[in-house]
């Protein structure tokens, strides 16, 4: 089974919830793999205090033109939805690499065998990192300067599927664009982490809407629950048929344990109980199906 942790707004505590929930679930005996699919700003390894390991490049196709064979028919440029191929006045094609999405549409339409050759460039990396908490962390990390996070999300997901043991828990990027839906896709449960500020509430509605469109049952975890109007979150959750499953107060203990690189779920602080409670509910939800 797969479940997802997401939340619309950045900085609401998605990664804190994902990592601590993973730790707490493991303590309950649930086998799992955590996948950090926030490929633009992956932080789960920092929160878990581990160095990324087992790096593999994500190499994306890009066309290389064999100008001795190219007939300058311009079909490659016409078909490129990203306008990554420009043609000179005489039809000679040129590639602007950062715009290329690697979709191979140009290669498909090129009428001359061998005029478009395969070249690749590394747009990021995936990692498989053992953690001292009894589960493996899979991370996707986009290279700085690259625009497209979708291929990284896809490749990190694939790698996570390959190494997964038991439950697959994904942690997504902020926002509600199509890379977030790609990360969430296939999940049986969406845990939306929110905060009760007006900004948090605004963005929560968007993620609840995404959950609704994807047909995934959604739970809400309210972080910094005392810094705003939680009633508004309740009303919103009700509107979308989502239930609030945990409330986490603003806590210096969480900040402290995070700075020390020790998940709060493993401490004696009262906040640890919240994650244990959440883990119990998740364990019940997934039943024996990991």
């Amino acid at each position: 089974m797969q479940i997802a942790v997401s939340g619309g707004k950045g900085g609401t505590g998605k990664s804190t919830v994902a990592t601590n929930l993973a730790v707490a679930l493991r303590k309950l005996g649930v086998k799992l793999t955590l996948a950090d699919l926030d490929v633009e700003a992956p932080n789960d390894h920092i929160l878990l205090g581990v160095e990324l390991a087992n790096e593999e490049p994500v190499n994306q196709f890009m066309p290389r033109f064999d100008y001795s064979k190219c007939t300058k028919c311009r079909k490659c440029a016409e078909v490129c939805e990203e306008h990554a191929i420009i043609t000179m006045r005489d039809g000679t094609p040129f590639l602007m690499p950062t715009l290329c999405s690697g979709c191979r549409a140009c290669e498909i339409v090129c009428p001359v065998p061998g005029a478009i050759l395969e070249a690749f460039r590394t747009i990021g990396h995936t990692y498989v990192t053992p953690t001292p908490y009894g589960f493996t962390l899979v991370t996707g990390r986009l290279r700085e300067g690259e625009e497209r996070s979708m291929p990284l999300v896809v490749e990190a997901r694939k790698r996570a599927e390959k190494v997964r043991e038991g439950l697959l828990m994904v942690d997504t990027a902020a926002g509600t664009g199509n890379t977030v839906s790609k990360a969430i896709e296939g999940s049986k449960l969406l845990i939306a982490v929110t905060e009760p500020t007006p900004l948090g509430i605004h963005d929560t509605e968007l993620i609840l809407e995404l959950g609704r469109l994807m047909g995934i049952p959604t739970w809400v975890v309210v972080n910094r629950a005392d810094l705003g109007d939680i009633e508004k979150v309740r009303a919103l959750a009700e509107k979308y048929g989502a239930q609030i499953v945990a409330e986490i107060p603003y806590s210096e203990n969480i900040v402290k344990s995070y700075v020390e690189g020790k998940p709060i779920a493993l401490t004696d602080y009262p906040e640890a109980e919240i994650f244990k409670g959440l883990a119990d509910r998740v364990a019940e939800f997934i039943g024996g199906d990991e």
Binding site: G10, G11, E81, G145, E147, G175, P198, L199, L213
Partner: protein, 296 residues
């Protein structure tokens, strides 16, 4: 002058600080503000915008659709989709997941039955313009849920902002960018004269702001750093060390202050809601430095 404000990590206070800086600069300078976080736009809320003067739909995003009538269920589209966006539904039909489709049209090109897969233009979101109660205009955008092209939305926003600058003779554009380092952030930083980076003293924020700075370096823009929640982690000096090593001037430090979340719930910049709070005084100092060093 075009100033882009970025952070890499979400939730470090980018929009809060931007709203306050706009408030403090509004009397002496003319500018247009741009909220370039199209997936989670919040600047309008913080500036108390309740109605938009003008809205423009952003069309041009494309998603593939499969006509199940003529589909022969050969599965080639399913195999060739580079992003795994085609699935087989309960009735055995091949269907495009429009919430993840990137619109590359590979499925349409490989489909052996002409006209079965079409690339359709859809709305990816809306771009809006408001006149804030503080007098300056704000351009904002909202990506539709599950749609591609948030970067293109930001590019369109900035084009609209540029036109507005010409029409109204505005001096500056101040862009509040999204979290991360992807297309939205690249569109935000592209063309800027200077980048202001905002970070908090945590290892995660350091890691993310370093990545954002690499994008800034791509564009060869000078960068400055603001440290928010500066006192939450007294033993951590990673941000200072990094800034010194890279030669990034620190514009100022803002202490953690509950006045900030309280001002957010009032939907006001903290410098307006609680001008005497310690956070507000720190932001005022930063605004003075920005006036002297950047805006002249």
């Amino acid at each position: 002058m075009q100033i882009a404000i970025a952070s890499g990590k979400g939730g470090v206070g980018k929009s809060t600080i931007t709203a306050s800086l706009l408030y403090l600069l509004k009397d002496e300078y003319s500018f247009v503000a741009v909220d370039a976080d199209a997936e989670a736009p919040n600047l309008g809320l913080l500036l108390g915008v309740t109605k938009w003067d003008e809205e423009r739909e952003h069309l041009g995003a494309k998603v593939a659709r499969i006509n199940t009538e003529s589909c022969i269920r050969c599965g080639i589209c399913y195999e060739r989709c580079p992003y795994g966006c085609i699935y087989i539904d309960d009735e055995g039909n091949y269907v495009v997941n429009e919430l993840t489709c990137e619109g590359c049209n590979v499925c349409g090109l490989v489909c052996p039955v002409g006209g079965t897969i079409s690339l359709e233009e859809v709305r990816s979101g809306v771009i809006q313009k408001a006149t804030t109660k503080y007098g300056f205009p704000l351009i904002s955008a909202q990506l539709d849920v599950g749609k591609p092209e948030s970067g293109k939305l930001v590019t369109d926003e900035k084009e609209w902002a540029k036109k507005l600058m010409e029409e109204k003779g505005l001096e500056h554009m101040i862009v509040d960018s999204a979290a991360g380092i992807g297309c939205q952030v690249i569109a935000s930083l592209g063309g800027a004269d200077v980048a202001i980076l905002i970070a908090e003293p945590t290892p995660a924020s350091l890691s993310d702001v370093q990545r954002a700075y690499k994008v800034v370096q791509h564009f060869r823009e000078p960068a400055y750093l603001i440290i928010n929640k500066a006192d939450i982690n007294p033993d951590f000096n990673g941000l200072e060390k990094w800034a010194e090593r890279e030669g990034i001037p620190i514009l100022g430090r803002i202490p953690y202050d509950r006045a900030i979340p309280e001002s957010m719930s009032m939907l006001k910049p903290v410098v307006e809601a609680f001008p005497d709070s310690k956070a507000s005084r720190a932001i005022e100092g930063i605004a003075e430095t920005i006036k002297e060093e950047l805006l002249g």
